[in-house]
Symmetry: C2
């Protein structure tokens, strides 16, 4: 397994993701991994590497441009706010990540999935809502609402959502609304709801967040990772 930077252009910018490839020859499924809002940091690079250990190619995708990782929360929120106010720019960035993955030599472009964490989980769903050719979408503690009205019917793959019941950014009403939206669109979806679990539960780095409803949960992290493995086996 090896991880190398992968650069690609979109939206007038250059993006720098981290591509994790398994050892061995032959084409394998590709998994796009969208990071938390700060950018391509240690958490998603570890996840991409772990997926490569499972014999997938995984691209920890840059959404910020130039591989930027925001350290200052204010700058990060401004940057996200700007992207959310110009969704077409955001979609170009998400789609460019998927294309860069599909073009990687070891990737079978007919077998693609996207996963994401927090803001990246929301991005994964948004990409699917644009009608991208995906076998599956997995969201970990990401928001489930969308500015793309009526877009659920565009989704082409299966959905897995893993979320904490105590996550203030993904309240139970949002889960219920999402369930109804996806059911009405006839999507194959599943939501796994973990008790006593807050926002950012997959990331040890979230353990340092002192706000109520935020933090790392080793058991929910372990369970949701097992779900993802099962889900990937099912879709590929």
């Amino acid at each position: 397994m090896s991880t190398t930077p992968l650069r690609y252009d979109a939206d007038g910018l250059t993006f720098c993701g981290q591509l994790a490839c398994p050892d061995g020859q032959g084409k394998v499924p590709g998994i796009l991994v969208f990071p938390e809002a700060p950018g391509v940091g240690p958490h998603v690079i570890r996840r991409a590497a772990a997926l490569a250990q499972l014999n997938y190619v995984a691209l920890a995708a840059d959404v910020n441009g130039e591989g930027m990782v925001y350290e200052d929360p204010k700058t990060m929120l401004e940057s996200i706010g700007l992207l959310k106010s110009q969704p077409e720019r955001l979609y170009r960035r998400l789609q460019a990540g998927l294309q860069a993955l599909a073009d990687a030599p070891q990737v079978d472009p007919d077998r693609l999935a996207v996963i994401g964490y927090c803001f990246g989980g929301w991005c994964a769903l948004e990409l699917a809502r644009t009608g991208a050719a995906l076998r599956g979408v997995a969201v970990f503690h990401g928001a489930l609402n969308s500015p793309q009205e009526g877009s659920a019917s565009q989704i082409r793959g299966k959905l897995l959502v893993c979320t904490g019941a105590a996550d203030p950014l993904v309240p139970l009403e949002q889960v219920t609304g999402f369930s109804e939206e996806m059911s009405a669109a006839g999507i194959d979806w599943q939501v796994h709801l973990y008790g006593g679990t807050g926002h950012g539960f997959t990331s040890p780095e979230a353990g340092s967040n002192p706000r109520p409803g935020f933090g790392y949960s080793p058991s929910s992290d372990r369970r949701s990772w097992a779900e993802l493995r099962q889900f990937l086996t099912e879709i590929f």
Copy 2:
């Protein structure tokens, strides 16, 4: 693996379950399996056998007495209604099933769990709510509400709930209420919600039910069985 009838007494009656044991020596964890309302029929006997293949001892437990399987829905509903109106009688029956399992020679009585389907899923939770010494409880399309007020705090094991989002007997509000109840009691719980899935989704026999919101779902059956295997590995 072999399945044999197991008789035990409680509540002034004799009960007849089906005990599935793995081949081999030594004590292994025991799993109590509560059936759908009609009684110990082919579905739960198959489940118990499948659990024995995984090296657990599983007792498909009789709740009706004399191993009765109701064929007439009216008689069945009357019988359940009677039991629900006399909960202490029901609890004696559930507890007797657990004791019979714990007493089986191949069972390690310190490693017990309970699972159940439909009415049996509700029974599994009710047994846990009496404070039974369980490592885990898994409910498949069972009702989640209880007449035992404040009983969540009595639960001693971890909880896994697998339910269909289109199940009219377990509406989303019930799932939400349950989530809040279990969170408030500090229980380790997870709910897996399957889209496009109705009541009875684990049982091919439910495929013949023509009512909307009822029926077998091969994908949700497969997924929830994988969850159970994962859950049992975690608790034992």
